[in-house]
Structure formats: C-alpha cells, structure tokens
Symmetry: C2
Subunit: 318 residues, 2 copies
Amino acid sequence: MAQQVRNKQVILRDYVSGFPKESDMIIVDNTITLKLPEGSNDVLLKNLYLSCDPYMRNLMNKPQGIPNPLSYSPQSVIAGFGVSKVLESGHPDYKEGDLVWGFCKWEEYRLVPSSQILFKVEHTDVPLSYYTGILAASGAVGQLVGQFAKLTGCYVVGSAGSKDKIDLLKNKFGFDEGFNYKEEPDLNAALKRYFPEGIDIYFENVGGKTLDAVLLNMRVHGRIPACGMISQYNLTQPEGVTNLAHLVYKRIRMEGFNSADFFPIYPKFLEFVLPHIREGKIVYVEDIAEGLENGPAALVGLFSGRNVGKQVLVVARE
Amino acid sequence: MAQQVRNKQVILRDYVSGFPKESDMIIVDNTITLKLPEGSNDVLLKNLYLSCDPYMRNLMNKPQGIPNPLSYSPQSVIAGFGVSKVLESGHPDYKEGDLVWGFCKWEEYRLVPSSQILFKVEHTDVPLSYYTGILAASGAVGQLVGQFAKLTGCYVVGSAGSKDKIDLLKNKFGFDEGFNYKEEPDLNAALKRYFPEGIDIYFENVGGKTLDAVLLNMRVHGRIPACGMISQYNLTQPEGVTNLAHLVYKRIRMEGFNSADFFPIYPKFLEFVLPHIREGKIVYVEDIAEGLENGPAALVGLFSGRNVGKQVLVVARE
C-alpha cells in the first residue's frame, strides 16, 4: 500500500485587492500519496525552502487583460520559487536525493509533471536556502545589486525604510550612502543631496513617487533597469508617474526584465557569484521564517518592510 | 558704409505656462548690419525656412532643475531648426551662396559664431524646405515613422485627430489602419481592436493617456522609442502614467532619443532617405505658412493639430 501522509498547503482565499492580509491565505491539511504511479514520468518532491517575493502579490490579483500564466486562482495553492528534494523520480534527469529549485507550490510535498523545468542544485558548499534567492536571482535583490555595483566601481546609494536597514547598507554591504525614504519629506531634495551631478543608473524596484523623483535627477543617457515596483502592488489605483517626459529630454533607457529570461545564462551567473560568496566578498542577509503555517505572515510582512534581507520560509531542513 | 537693413524677429514675451497663445510671442522690427566686421570668423546668414516643432513649447517654460541650454529667455528671439543661405563668411568651411541648416533664431538675418555647427545642404534636387523636416530628422515624424515601418514590413496603425488626417494616413502614406483618438471613448478598446495580439513597437510622441493605454496592450519584449510627449507639454501638472509596471511584467524597453545624438550618422541617413524621396517611395506632406509674422500662429497651431503634415514657416524663398 502507498503511504498517505499529511500535505499542509497554503491556499489563496480569494483574489486580493489592496494591501494583502494574513487572512487572505488559509492553511489546510491535505493528504498526498508518497509514491509515483506505475510508469509515471513525474517527479515527487519534498519542499524544503520557499522564497517570499513581492511579485507574488501581483499573482493574487483578479486577472485583467492578458492573464499571467502564473496567477493564482482562489481556493488554490499559491506558489513561488523554492528548493526541494527528490523523493522519487520517473524522469531520467532526476533521481532520489537530488536537490532541485524552481517554481514551487507552497505545500509540504508535491508531484511535478515531467514537463516542468527544475534546476539541479550542483553546489552544496553554500547554504541550500541561497537557492531561493541569491542563487536563483530572485528576491531581496537590492542588497545584491548594490554590492555588485560596488564590485564594478560604482558610487552606490541605497534607499531603505529604517535606521537599522540603512546601517546594514552602509556598514555590512559597503554602500557609500543610504537614506531612510520614510524620513525624507522631499525625495527630490534627498536625491540632489546624494547625487549633485545626477544619477547614471537607477535600479528600479519601487516605482511611484520614488521613480518620479529619480526621473528629475537622472543624467543624460542614464539607464533604469526595471525589476519591480513594490510601492504599486497594493494600490487599487496605481500612483501616476508624472515626470516620464524626462525619458525623452535626457534620452534615458528604461527596460523591464525578468530573471526567467536569463535562465539560459544561469551557469555563467553561478560561475561569477559562487566564488564571491565563498570568499566572503558578497554579504547575503536572510530573514528566516519557520514552518509553512508562518508563510502568510512572512509574505505579508514584505509590504511593511518587516523583513531584513531575503525573506525565506523553511518548510523542512532536509 | 555697411548696409543696415530691417531684421524682423519673433520674441518670447515671457515664460509660458499652459497652452501657448499667439500673444505669447511678439513680432519686432530690429536692424542688422549686413557686413561682417574686418577679420571676423563668423558667418552671416539669410534665413529661408523655419521648422515649427512641438518640443519648442518646452523651451518656453520657466527652467526648473537642470536648465536646457536651448531654453528661451523672456524678451529674446526664439529659435528652432531652419535652413539659411550664406551671405558672407569669415569661416573657411562656408562661402557666399552656400545653403546650410541647423539651429536657427526666428529672424530674417542672423550672425552665427564660427563655433556653431551648421550642416551644408549638399542635395538641392529635393525641396529646400525638406531640410527643416524629413532631411533634418525633425518634426512631423509620425508620417515618416509609419512609412519607414511599412518599408520594413511592419503592420502600421496610426492615431490622429481628424477624419481627413486618418484618410491621409491610410490613402496617402499607406498605413494599414488609422483611428481618430478624439472619437475613441476607450483607447484601450481601440488598441485591442487594431492589435488583437498586442503591440510590438509603439513610437511614442504623445504620452499621457495614450501611453497608458498602449502599455496595457504591449507584447512581451515590446519596444517604445520615445521621441516626444506632445500631450503633456501644455499641462502645468502632467497627467500621471499609471500602467508603468507593465514595463516590468512584459520586459518592455522604453528609451528616449534625440536626433542630435545621431548627427554623426547623418550622412548614412541621407543615403537611405534621398533615393526614397526621389523615387516617390516616401510621401512627405508639408503645411506651409508664409512670413515670419505668421510664425506664432503656425507654432501655436501644432497643439490644436491645425497643421496637416510638417509645419514649415517660409521667411524668404531665396
């Protein structure tokens, strides 16, 4: 007889509008058979570490226009990046005991169809949880972008929401400067203070009023790689950005990107980043929550800035 | 004795806020000596054709932040692109009778310091006025962008503000489709109608609500070259663009540009465009106003869409 075990899951109650609450998600105890059917090509996984990322908020919206294929449905299990261990595999590329990362439902165990892409964890001399963040090019990117920029010789200024975070930016990550955006009555003035000659590169993760102030302070031919706009995700009506004409006046390039588009060059990224981690040249801070039942609070906390560093949720350690 | 002649000029009365009016500009009769001082390296020009372009509205604003070096000052002569004839030259690169184009004050004659860049008109088998527009890569670009796009095999839809203009787009310029944005209660729906599979390239010249609707309808990895945002130039408070997060979701590149950045490759552009003009493969429509005294009306008319095609102001024909 196949073994039936509890499979705890995090379910989206209904589409979310505005700021997400813990109660928008429900913890349920389901069951799963820990045995693949005869002849299956699927892979049976035990989930270990889950990544909590701001973009997941967008997947909770009622779809409008062209739906995102990753969007959550009400009464279904939510998902994000995660690290898992292979319990059983009908797929020739994976075998029992392999560690993998990829898009992962928030549950204790899961059955993955053979068509889904899983990345093998090849290097286990660094913490396994890193494959939810720095080694998956996902989440809490600000701390890393600033450090990568310092490695290439940039002058780096970070914006964060508390004194402790600013201390972290300056003293642990080695940023040149940092300011608490919550204590700046005039963001334009703050940016002028730190960039009297203007900004060459703004790593966009915030949107809204911050972007508007940045546009005023960009230099000619400046660049804005756009990774996210966390300030907008919980607004039913997004703030309008009024200074976009500066893209024209100053011939600025603004370009959205998504780590998934760069998966083909993931091995090159690992080649670059692993030595920096091993030699301690990159500092990577994680904020660890324990247990699937604490997932909703960890996820919601991202939007009040409660987390310090990458928010990870531990489902099981092995 | 050097010849003193009348030099009619168009003067900005004061900084402009909101929609520009003819009365924001004044016509004055000044005088000029049509003779270079002994030993001067300057160039004395007679202005022939002046270009009326929407960006000139921005130069009328009271400067804020980093001032644009081209900005107009109250009680000074306004300026834009223009075509002129050399009357006398102390500069070795120019001689009497040469035709040149470049940034040009709105007056009948002008003395140009030897440091200012002037482009020589080398090809006179096409109308001289074209050097204010299609051959200066300036103004009324929509008609040309659409035709260039058709030459490269694109499906082209134009947006314009009257039935006559839509007819022009479709029947004279060969656009596939066109719609009157003034008669579309829902721009998002209009775009969905013409681009059921989404937009690959949006040539941005409008901004505001149009850009917002476009962002909703862009395809993944779409591109938005941003040339101008005419809908915003007369607003004291620009409209907010609310759908910018789609730059991230759909990994869109939006990039401002300015023809001046591309002057080094101007000869290549001429090589491309001149044969198309000579062979009639590019249609270029001009709207000609006569006389410097009609300049303010021609310039102001751009913002109500009164012009059909490139608005040119004739100061003198030779």
